[in-house]
Amino acid sequence: MVPQQKRKHSDFNWLNKNMHKLQNSYAGKVIAVVNKTVSAGKTALEAYNKSKKLFPFQEPLMSAVPSKDCLLL
């Protein structure tokens, strides 16, 4: 069992429901999420460090907010 897995999974589900709203403020940014609190940066390290300042004992869920361009997967 990975530490804080329940919390990270809850943040994952929250993120999926709210990504379209986050695109208005954070499109193109990397984000780190802890308890629905978003820390954003240009790079993963920047977002991670901001999150760690707010939540030193929590491991964030790392994600990237897509731009509103079409994405070909």
Binding site: A44, S63, K68, L72, L73
Partner: protein
């Protein structure tokens, strides 16, 4: 079986759009499990992460085997690294390409992963289901 809900996103061209994402843990160079979101992409040959994610996980990016990745449009350089991933309760070793740029999405591609899991895109439920093969 592991179920991941799709992500509700906005496309300027098409409005609201649902995309298949997964919550994955990747073990970093300090043996810490990092949680990341990745799109599930049955069209991608290999899994790939942004450069800055590779750096956060402690990889010296250019030490990996260099490959060139082509999609629709321009070509990018990436470097293959061996990583341990945790999908649900299943720990799997996987070759992951670290892009030389952050201008790509994190993707779970077919190599190895699609042999280890039966992956179903449940488009009506807006979920992706992962079932470990025997």
């Amino acid at each position: 079986m592991i179920r991941y809900n799709w992500s509700k996103e906005i496309s300027e061209s098409f409005g609201s759009i649902m995309r298949p994402v997964a919550e994955i843990h990747i073990k970093d160079k300090n043996k810490i499990w990092r949680a990341v979101t990745m799109y599930v992409d049955s069209g991608a040959d290999v899994s790939i992460i942004k450069r800055s994610f590779g750096e956060l996980f402690g990889h010296k990016i250019k030490k990996g085997k260099k490959i060139r990745l082509k999609g629709i449009g321009s070509e990018i350089a990436a470097y293959i690294h061996k990583m341990d991933l945790l999908i649900g309760k299943h720990e799997i070793p996987l070759d992951v390409a670290i892009a030389d740029t952050d201008n790509i999405p994190n993707l779970l591609g077919r190599k190895t992963l699609f042999d280890l899991f039966e992956i179903r895109f449940k488009n009506l439920k807006k979920q992706t289901h992962f079932s470990k093969t025997a």
